[in-house]
Symmetry: C2
Subunit: 262 residues, 2 copies
């Protein structure tokens, strides 16, 4: 792959995440794609996992310039991942980047996780704003995770998406299996599996005897399909699910028209 010098025509690549600007995952993502365009990093100043599509409306936001990697402007933001995208476009880039990348998340965002994930919500926010976007996640929660295979495939995916003009609302949810590069079967375009958490709150008592609850639960896959992201990851594929922000259930829409005839 030819690496060209930075020019005005280089794509502007906005990078964010939900694990915070200091997480190894975002550094790995920036390193993986740094020669594909002009990199601007705007990420939360603290972990924001599970924040979903939350935005900050009751308090103001702060931005602070930081150094992450040479040659890339980087900012730490006091808000959520979605706030980071909004602020980056309005106050740092003063316009739209060519692509927005989010991650690499420490932990999976396949199946129903797409809805809870701050990583994916940042990517979805970009696609709402007509910026093609990709969220990346590695199936390893560890801060010491091995990102080498993820880096290789993240770069391949970004390079292929940048190669030609994409739908302005394109949003991809990419997950990497936590295996050695030599074991990866390839890249598989999938649908979101119907798999969810079966909650089982851990009930405890504080020193005054009052109850409190920790969210815990088991992840259960109810989906037997071989075209899902969970299946792909279980079979060592990199899973790619195209995601949309139109939540309308068109099949139900037709059925419901009869129910609501007044």
């Amino acid at each position: 792959m030819a690496v060209s010098k930075r020019s005005k025509k280089d794509p502007v690549i906005l990078i964010t995440n939900d694990d915070g600007v200091m997480a190894p995952g975002i550094l790995n993502l920036a390193e993986a794609v740094k020669d594909l365009g002009k990199i601007i990093i705007v990420a939360p100043d603290k972990p924001q996992s599970g924040m979903g599509h939350a935005i900050t409306i009751g308090s103001p936001l702060r931005l602070q310039q930081v150094h992450l990697i040479d040659g890339a402007e980087a900012w730490s933001c006091s808000g959520t991942p979605v706030d980071c995208v909004k602020l980056a476009v309005d106050k740092i880039l003063h316009g739209k980047p060519d692509i927005c990348l989010s991650g690499i998340n420490h932990g999976p965002n396949h199946s129903i996780n797409v809805i809870y994930s701050g990583t994916m919500s940042a990517a979805i926010e970009a696609s709402i704003e007509s910026i093609p976007s990709i969220g990346f996640s590695l199936l390893d929660y560890s801060m010491e995770a091995d990102f080498s295979a993820a880096r290789k495939y993240a770069r391949i995916i970004v390079e292929r998406i940048l190669r030609k003009k994409q739908d302005k609302h394109l949003c991809l949810n990419v997950n990497f299996p936590a295996v050695d590069e030599s074991l990866i079967s390839g890249i598989k375009v999938c649908r979101q599996a119907y798999a969810k958490y079966e909650e089982d709150f851990d009930e405890r008592k504080d020193p005054t005897g009052k109850k409190y609850y920790w969210l815990t639960g088991a992840f259960v896959n109810f989906d037997k399909g071989k075209d899902t992201d969970v299946w792909a990851l279980n079979n060592n594929y990199v899973s790619v699910v195209p995601v949309q922000f139109d939540l309308t259930n068109y099949e139900q829409k037709t059925k419901l028209e009869k129910t609501f005839k007044l």
Copy 2:
């Protein structure tokens, strides 16, 4: 409509919101449907607007029993709207309610708001957990808003949905125009409009000269369709959009398979 006495066969109706357990909207919703089943209210102890599908994973949750209306068990929860649904099912109801209602929100949740809204995320969480659900929102942010038309139509909608067995993942996003009952045109089943906020952060300086930013912006409707929720509301209809949690963009999926052939 005949009102039967409470019996074991009465549907169990879980009610939550994102404006907090003390907001007038949730009281109006509970009053509107209280004779349609056994009411259990579990709602945030403080406003949680714009929390999207956030869940609380870094700190534990608290529940506190409160009194809202006679004959209904009510709990205040320290978490997000999604946490409320999870905790209600696991620790209060010890099982699934027949339906989950969320709202009535003070302010619109049509079009793209469905993604930012704590009200709708609570309803979506219920539908993920195989509980049919309905989120209600009134196009009036005021805490003194007139809920009389919203109450009437919320009751009609809940009654019709309870009348027969629904898809276990049914989730409706219902918005009420802020007009007098006499002006309401009817109920319209719609799709989600492509309409979004154009951000324009308000940049200020604190007393030490450091910048901070308030999220503001104008709502812009890019969608000219007459089958959208925004069109329906502009024409004084109660809008009903069926919502799904499978975010897969199936059209893109087919297109992308070629892009990622290795």
